[in-house]
């Protein structure tokens, strides 16, 4: 394909990606035992992924298979993550659940794994659809994006300037949510609200901290901040609670109850939301085992039972949605521990 | 030849049966030495005889493999230079060891600064004491100036000031005069005599024999690490001393051959570097040895650097064989046939961590090449040839140069530049720290080179050397050429007159 003396993006479009080979699903196949399921989070030692993977571990053990967790110590070490995919392939795991640092970078390795008959489920953060069998999504991106705007709007009375404090600029899921937030804001009921800026704290406590300061200095009339990342919301809450803006500037987003308990109690934060990471991990594990047992293949419309979590249907592009997120506030926060 | 007797005053410091090896090199073998209060004792020997090693053993830098150091008759073990200093021993090492980032005053008093209350440093007292020391040595050096950028001579002066700054019972000096001109040497000797009269014991090393005879009373000679003799200098001649050192009679020290100068090889016109030297013009012809004399800091080294292209010149031109040299480009100067033997061999002349072979090879990177790759055989034979020609004393040609004695290092620098087969050779203090035997050889070599048609510009603070070797003497004073004196008229008086600015 060398039109005009070179290969360009146009030429590649016609190449077409080879979709993951899909055999035939047998919904009644027995759940296999003694499988090895590898969990590969974006980063080990990350509390969020640790709870997710604990959920996965519980489910895998329950189903009589072996669980293992591997992964890089840095959330931006893509090469490290790739080499862990390779390692799992070498060790001939039966299935792996991966939270992808990068939608493209893991593709070659994941395809290699699928070629070796390993089932690949992504969770939390997806790759390109043809590089895995199924994606377990924490909540529909649309739900998350829209509800966060709704939460904040209620707190500031549908009026005033707001800003977003996101993670890395390249974080795929954050970016999707932010798109939905912007879309939600187009609704006339938010006509008095104005999104003034999206800042990036790179999921680093100190940077998120300084970005929050910057937002408040640049926009003295700021009324609210949405931070759709657990690290960001925590840093922003810590800054606000130690500053004169405490209680005046509202903060919401995605956070864990344990992180945020203090700020909810001291009045810095009214309400925020999150799905239960352990449930996310559990569903990823059950999906992986269902795939490995041949009960599903990842085609749209297939259904399977995820133990006590009930029945799930595979949606478009092999996406499985966990369900609606939980909203936490002063009334209910003490009922949760994760 | 008598061993130091047991009569008379007791020695302050003595060495008994000291041996010291570095790997396979036996630098000292069963050497003994006694230093008496009120006496200046000379230590003589060829390059590599073990003088500096002996001194470092005395100063606690090296631990002897065998033997004892006795202080006031009691055996002592110095665990480091600090111990020796605390015992009242002041040492001037052969190579200046200054802190380039610190001021001269701090350099002198480091580790023993005058204190105020709460052990805080008294900066003012430090400054004043330094000023006083400088006055005693008769030099002008700003105590607050950092040591970085001091000429070798000035560095040596700071070293001397450092040693004088505390009332040492024993003063040890390893070639303190190698970089100094006569007037500074005279000053230094004045101070040394005063110390001696106050009862200090002094150990003095120099390759300038006349200095030994001038200030010392006794001499200990070493040869190849072995003790040869300790004896009074009274009644000895220079030849006697040389024979002890070298074990044979010495050839003539200034074997200048008469030559008829050819055409101009090096032509320097109105060379100027602002604030350093101004309007320097001179020619050097093929076959000629031109001496460049002047007091320390007159700017001779700076002229040489600018001619060679190490420093950029602000104005003026340099031609070699009629070809103009690019400003600030030593590589083109080399290509034109110019060679510069620099004054600071450790920093400028040698890569201390590299082998002798590669150091000499460094100037031949353009020639010992086959099809773009290094020709190792050619490199080795080129290096070996010259190392042998200059009688460098080494164990293996692949040893690093920092294991060589100072004089042998100097020979490697010479070898490195002579190996380029230069048309014009500039030598800056070529025989600094070289023993008499080798010095004669270097002179013979320079003379031979000149006879073969090389133009030689010789910068030296050793006036007899200039007078003995040069066909013509150029004299600098405060950055300007003040005189050009033909060989026949050159005497110490005429040269010094021009060098000090008293019109010739």
């Amino acid at each position: 394909a060398t039109a005009c003396g070179g290969t360009t993006k146009e030429d590649v479009k016609n190449e077409g990606g080879a979709a993951a080979s899909a055999g035939k699903a047998d919904p009644n196949a027995a759940t296999k035992k003694g499988l090895t399921v590898g969990f590969l989070p974006k980063q080990v030692n990350n509390p969020y992924f640790t709870s997710a993977d604990k959920g996965g571990e519980k489910a895998v053990k329950e189903l009589g298979s072996r669980f293992k967790e591997v992964g890089p110590t840095s959330a931006t070490d893509t090469a490290g993550q790739v080499s862990y995919v390779n390692t799992l392939t070498q060790q001939q795991a039966d299935a792996m659940a991966v939270s992808a640092q990068d939608p493209g970078a893991l593709c070659t390795a994941l395809k290699q794994a699928m070629k070796n008959d390993i089932k690949v489920v992504t969770y939390d953060s997806d790759t390109k659809p043809d590089c895995r069998n199924a994606f377990v999504s924490q909540a529909s991106a649309e739900d998350l994006g829209r509800t966060e705007v709704q939460l904040l709007a209620e707190q500031i009375g549908y009026k005033g300037e707001i800003a977003i404090l996101s993670a890395a600029q390249t974080a795929t899921n954050q970016n999707t949510w932010i798109e939905f937030m912007k879309d939600e804001l187009k609704n006339p009921k938010y006509k008095d609200m104005k999104l003034v800026k999206v800042a990036y704290g790179n999921d680093d406590a100190q940077q998120s901290f300084q970005q929050t300061q910057g937002l408040l200095q640049e926009y003295p009339n700021l009324k609210g901040i949405i931070s759709p990342t657990t690290v960001g919301i925590k840093a922003a809450a810590q800054y606000l609670s130690g500053s004169k803006y405490k209680g005046k500037v509202k903060l919401t987003g995605l956070g864990t109850p344990n992180d945020m308990r203090k700020y909810v109690k001291n009045g810095t934060v009214e309400a925020f939301e999150l799905w239960d990471p352990a449930k996310l991990g559990e569903l990823a594990a059950r999906t992986a085992i269902a795939l490995a047992s041949g009960q599903i293949t990842g085609q749209e419309g297939e259904t399977f039972t995820a133990g006590a979590m009930g029945e799930y249907t595979i949606g478009e592009d092999g996406v499985i949605n966990l369900g609606k997120p939980t909203v936490f506030n002063a009334d209910n926060i003490d009922q949760f521990d994760f | 030849m008598t061993h130091p007797s047991d009569t008379g005053p007791a020695p302050v410091l003595a060495l008994k049966g000291i041996s010291k090896s570095f790997g396979a090199v036996r630098a000292l073998r069963d050497v003994s030495l006694e230093l008496f209060p009120g006496e200046v004792h000379a230590l003589a020997g060829e390059n590599g005889a073990g003088k500096s090693t002996l001194i470092k053993t005395l100063a606690g830098v090296h631990r002897p493999d065998a033997g004892q150091v006795l202080l006031d008759g009691e055996p002592v073990v110095f665990h480091g230079p600090g111990d020796a200093r605390d015992a009242g021993i002041a040492v001037i090492y052969q190579e200046p060891t200054l802190f380039p980032d610190l001021s001269i005053a701090e350099n002198i008093f480091m580790g023993r600064q005058p204190r105020r209350a709460l052990r805080r440093i008294d900066h003012k007292a430090t400054h004043d004491a330094t000023t006083a020391l400088m006055r005693r040595l008769g030099v002008e050096l700003d105590p607050d100036r950092p040591a970085r950028g001091l000429s070798i001579a000035d560095q040596q002066i700071v070293e001397i000031a450092k040693a004088l700054s505390f009332d040492a019972r024993v003063l040890i000096m390893d070639e303190p005069t190698a970089a100094l001109t006569n007037s500074e040497v005279a000053r230094l000797f004045g101070v040394v005599r005063a110390l001696r009269d106050q009862g200090a014991a002094v150990l003095f090393i120099s390759h300038r024999l006349e200095e030994i005879f001038e200030i010392c009373r006794t001499v200990t000679t070493l040869r190849d690490g072995a003790w040869i003799a300790s004896e009074p200098l009274d009644g000895m001649t220079e030849d006697d001393l040389v024979r002890r050192m070298v074990g044979r009679d010495l050839a003539e020290l200034y074997p200048k051959q008469d030559v008829t100068p050819g055409e101009v090889a090096l032509s320097v016109r109105r060379l100027t570097r602002e604030g350093v030297f101004t309007d320097v013009s001179f020619d050097v012809r093929r076959g000629e040895i031109v001496g460049l004399a002047g007091l320390v800091g007159a700017g001779r080294t700076e002229v040489a650097r600018a001619v060679f292209g190490i420093d950029r010149r602000d104005a003026g031109e340099v031609e070699v064989d009629g070809r103009k040299l690019t400003n600030g480009a030593p590589s083109t100067a080399m290509a034109a046939g110019l060679a510069l033997v620099p004054e600071d061999r450790r920093a400028q002349g040698l890569v201390m961590d590299m082998s002798i072979e590669r150091n000499i090879g460094l100037t031949g990177l353009g020639t010992t090449v086959k099809a773009g790759l290094m020709d190792r055989g050619a490199e080795r034979s080129r290096s070996l040839d010259w190392a042998v020609k200059l009688r460098v004393k080494y164990a293996r040609i692949a040893d690093t140069v920092d294991t060589l004695s100072g004089g042998n290092q100097q020979k490697v620098v010479l070898a490195k530049w002579l190996a380029t087969g230069p048309k014009v050779l500039i030598v800056d203090e070529p025989t600094r720290g070289i023993d008499v035997g080798t010095k004669a050889e270097v002179h013979r070599l320079l003379s031979q080179l000149a006879a073969d048609g090389v133009a030689v510009l010789m910068i030296s603070s050793d006036l007899p050397e200039i007078l003995g070797m040069a066909d013509r003497v150029l004299v600098m004073h405060e950055g300007r050429l003040t005189a050009e004196i033909p060989r026949t008229d050159a005497t110490e008086e005429t040269v010094m007159a021009a060098a000090t600015g008293r019109a010739a």
């Binding site: 509390p47 110590t73 | 090492y93 380039p100 980032d101």
Partner: protein, 346 residues
């Protein structure tokens, strides 16, 4: 062959005052250049955003710099001795977590700080011993201990984290509190800084650090206890990294196994921007502290000016290079002036 000096060489009274002042100026110039860059930057920002220098704004600026200033002060000491400690980020992280774990169990804040400092001292000693006894390149050793300490930290901490909720309220309030615009933490850092600078200038031990960085061989010959001094510099650096860890905990209330990773490059940048030369022997802790202030302020200035965070990193880097270049050019100019001034034949 004695040749007496021409006339009693006139020891012309060196124009002491002038030269001293000039030398002093060189010394100060290095810091002045950075200070100027810093002030210009602040002024521009204030002009663009009047809220920048509000009480809260100043407080934030100072708080942000505090931790880096502390670590940079310790690092400067090590760099002055011609060494480097790359493990400070790891040390900071592990001591912060240690202090946090202790406080989580309901401990006394003062003891917690002491614990962090002690841990820092421990790692500092380890580094110092490896470097000075082994006489091995500091860069390699401390890169090694960077990994080792970080690895131990990760294994120990796992996915646990300390959050503000786990800490005594007083401790966290102290971290963000202060006397009007001046945070307590900044006062502590300032006190440490001034004391260190005074020690370096006016005590033998301090000057000896410069000496052995300037020329280690000469330092040995001058009888300076080289190993002891290097050990002390590393220990001090470790102690400050530990103290900084405790402050990090108080300030951010949030510590996990990744705390402080990658900090070494920031610290080294601060020190270098502050004019402490990597080949040892020169520079001052004030310079390092100014460098730290400049670096952290860039991170506050750009968001305050509304510069999109996409641009922040690039501007940061370019400013860093500019600061180093300007500093160098100023230093060169002054050195030339000094040389002409000091030339014997003026």
């Amino acid at each position: 062959m004695t040749l007496t000096a021409p006339d009693e060489a006139p020891v012309a009274e060196v124009p002491k005052a002038g030269a001293t002042r000039l030398a002093d100026r060189v010394f100060k110039m290095r810091e002045l250049a950075i200070l100027a860059v810093f002030l210009v930057m602040i002024a521009v920002t204030q002009a663009g955003n009047s809220a920048f220098l509000s009480e809260q704004g100043i407080k934030d600026l100072l708080l942000n710099a505090t931790i880096l200033v502390l670590v940079a002060t310790g690092q400067a000491l090590v760099v002055i001795t011609r060494n480097v400690d790359l493990s400070v980020g790891s040390t900071l992280g592990i001591s912060a977590f240690a202090a946090g774990t202790y406080l989580q169990g309901g401990g006394n804040p003062v003891v917690a700080v002491a614990l962090a400092v002690l841990l820092g001292i421990g790692f500092g000693l380890l580094n110092g011993l490896l470097v000075s006894l082994g006489q091995v390149p500091a860069l390699v050793v401390t890169l090694g201990t960077l990994y080792i300490i970080r690895g131990i930290d990760s294994i120990w901490v796992g996915s646990r984290q300390i959050t503000a909720a786990d800490l005594p309220g007083g401790f966290v309030d102290f971290g963000s509190g202060g006397i009007s615009a001046v945070p307590y933490l900044a006062l502590i850092a300032l006190a440490v800084l001034v004391a260190t600078a005074y020690y370096l200038r006016h005590f033998g031990g301090g000057r000896e650090l410069y000496a052995l960085g300037s020329n280690p061989e000469a330092a040995r010959l001058a009888g300076i206890p080289v190993r002891k001094r290097i050990l002390a510099a590393y220990t001090f650096c470790g102690a400050l990294a530990g103290l900084a860890g405790a402050m990090y905990l108080a300030r951010f209330g949030n510590v996990d196994s990744g705390t402080g990773s990658g900090y070494e490059l920031t610290v080294v940048s601060a020190v270098v921007v502050g004019g402490v030369v990597f080949t040892g022997g020169s520079g001052s802790v004030y310079g390092a502290a100014l460098g730290a202030l400049l670096l952290t302020s860039i991170n506050s200035v750009l968001p305050a000016l509304g510069v999109s965070s996409v641009w922040v990193l690039a501007i940061n880097g370019i400013l860093l290079v500019l600061a180093i270049a300007v500093d160098r050019i100023v230093a060169l100019r002054v050195a030339t002036a000094l040389k002409k001034r000091n030339a014997r034949h003026a």
